[in-house]
Symmetry: C2
Amino acid sequence: MSLSGKHRVVIVGGGFGGLSATKSLRKAPVDITLVDRRNFHLFQPLLYQVATGGLSPGNIAAPLRSIFARQRNVHVQMDDVVGFDLPHRKVLLKEGELTFDTLLVAAGARTGYFGNDHWARNAPGLKSIEDAIEIRGRVLTAFEEADKLPTPHAREHLLTFVIVGGGPTGVELAGTLAEIARHTLRHDFRIINPAETRIILIDAAPRILMAYAEDLALSAQTKLVEMGVEVRTNVKIHSVDAEGAHVATPTGTEVIRAANVLWAAGVSASPLAKLLSEATGAPLDRQGRIEVQSDLTLPGHPHVFVIGDMAHFKQPGGQPVPGVAPAAMQQGKYVAKVIQSRFQNVTVPGFQYKDLGSMATIGRKAAIAQVGNWKFTGLIAWLMWLFIHLIQIVSFESRLLVLIQWAWNYLTFSRSARLITQSGYIHTPPPAP
Amino acid sequence: MSLSGKHRVVIVGGGFGGLSATKSLRKAPVDITLVDRRNFHLFQPLLYQVATGGLSPGNIAAPLRSIFARQRNVHVQMDDVVGFDLPHRKVLLKEGELTFDTLLVAAGARTGYFGNDHWARNAPGLKSIEDAIEIRGRVLTAFEEADKLPTPHAREHLLTFVIVGGGPTGVELAGTLAEIARHTLRHDFRIINPAETRIILIDAAPRILMAYAEDLALSAQTKLVEMGVEVRTNVKIHSVDAEGAHVATPTGTEVIRAANVLWAAGVSASPLAKLLSEATGAPLDRQGRIEVQSDLTLPGHPHVFVIGDMAHFKQPGGQPVPGVAPAAMQQGKYVAKVIQSRFQNVTVPGFQYKDLGSMATIGRKAAIAQVGNWKFTGLIAWLMWLFIHLIQIVSFESRLLVLIQWAWNYLTFSRSARLITQSGYIHTPPPAP
């Protein structure tokens, strides 16, 4: 019980899952503390737009305190969670601790390098604002540096971009880079011809977009090739260094020389999953996600819930729920419902994921979408994608700005947020060409 | 002569001066190379809005390549100028060099600490996007950290902000911080009362805004006090450390305990001024600006111009031209005219600065302005300020966004760009309270 005598709910993580749970508890007789390392919620689906200079960080991030300014049962706290003392119902923070009656952990995932974290230096991932600013800086700097070199041959290394991973993020990055090279920068450079740019999308699987129906994935691939992207499947990454991507192909090994390798190949759950696994015995999967029970709690701990990208929830068919925003939001709502039902001594049936469909955007007027047995491509799918993303950011005050920025970019092929600014990253000096 | 046989103009710096010269030369028979360390032009007058979370960096910065995409006689190059070889008409770059027929150096100024550069750590200035992001992070983090402390006494150090320097930048920062504390964050914090915030504006002079008429400055001071800012004049800064600002007052010395000291007390010219002074013998003034002749050239070097914040141009009365954007722009236009006149063997009279008036904004609906003998305060002055700044950023494609963002902020007291992100700065750990 808190000072006010109310049931104390601690929610770790202000992503889609934590936000959805917190909002769904707005009328519950509870005191909520929402803890996050950052002071803002990030609309991750549009992060690739920041990485490619189309949107500003402020357009896709909203301060958590603003979001909950008027929800009086929430206290927002910016802090690092460093551990859990479940027997005493405590969350251990970098500075201090929090006592809970119910705990919800929704700390998400980060870029995963299959145990090769040192690749991060030469192949940044795209999970945070800082990542996006770093990628934006590297990509733009490559064009600036290339413009100083005398021959196409000398510029080749700088103007080759390898994107590792043919999932939705990889496809979005590749498509957007192709548009930048072919259109946005067309008038900007006097010496280099932006069309010298090579954009290579590689994936270890036999095709890209494995989570999508095969005909949709093929349609996306055809569109990417039309836009000038080289799509290479059955190509497995061996290592990444300043020279480029070292890969294994069906016919042997190869070095794809590229100053910029961008990583969109995998995620691993927040390390908090491991701490919870040690505390409760719940097993971790290969991506570091913790297995949760049918009501999203941990075994033996009915007051501890885990949701979103760090939870492994087995569906009836055996497949885990995918790590996408709608799944995390559904789980957040479900947990809020369970918490409230307990006050009324009502039992709620186990969580069920409702697949609302999935979509990936390729470029201007091009996307793919599948909703149940329905499939869409081209302009229709792109309009669906646009509509759904605009609807989803309605809780952001900047939605109008985003719309206008997009409209402007669309009309002019411009990307106004093309700033090279310093970040906290270690900068890799470009290797000699 | 360049490859095309045209007269080669090298312009160093893409600020107001360099931009204005480059644009004014759009029809001249010259090949221009515009060199800047950054890839964007920064609209510095609105930097304080980024530092206080009202605007995103992308709103006040425009890529130089975009600005000149359609001006075919300009080549933009992102590089560091490290020296000059005037006898051989060369600008030395970090990588390579540029040969010029005419050189224009407009590299501006940076924050100046009167020789105490180590104060930068505890008292960041406000001259770059990185500065603004750093200040935004520090100010917001102070509120976040304070919210974890139990008593007003413990929070006092974190919630005291000292702004050093009562010029327009200091006044703008103080006024905006007061608005944030009193309005924007009012609903955001549960434990601290944002009104606990102390904002102290100090200046060594007997009054603030010394460049303005006394009655206008007094009116601004009254408004600041109304908004909750403590204005302390005749207070001289001795040193700055993690504890706060060590100052000398008319009655003795004192330590103003404050976790955040912001520096708006002075600028010093780009170090390129010193290099040019050594090469030409032209003297430097106390702020490191180089003395230029009546046609803005350096003595003995009729083909080398220096303008803007790094130039000291003596006016007939003996006063130097002030370091403001309109002066740099007028000088840029003048240099373009001189360059063009030389092709026609026409002589142009010396540069004359036309004072278009000056204005400073204090907060919502409050500003001061003086134009010749006309003086304005309050809402009228604020509308003038708004109008002139909106007009001035017309060359930015994001002007519409800025307008909307302002309108939104104004209506809702909101500041949507309140993100705490990492920067390249060395972070100072907060001292024990």
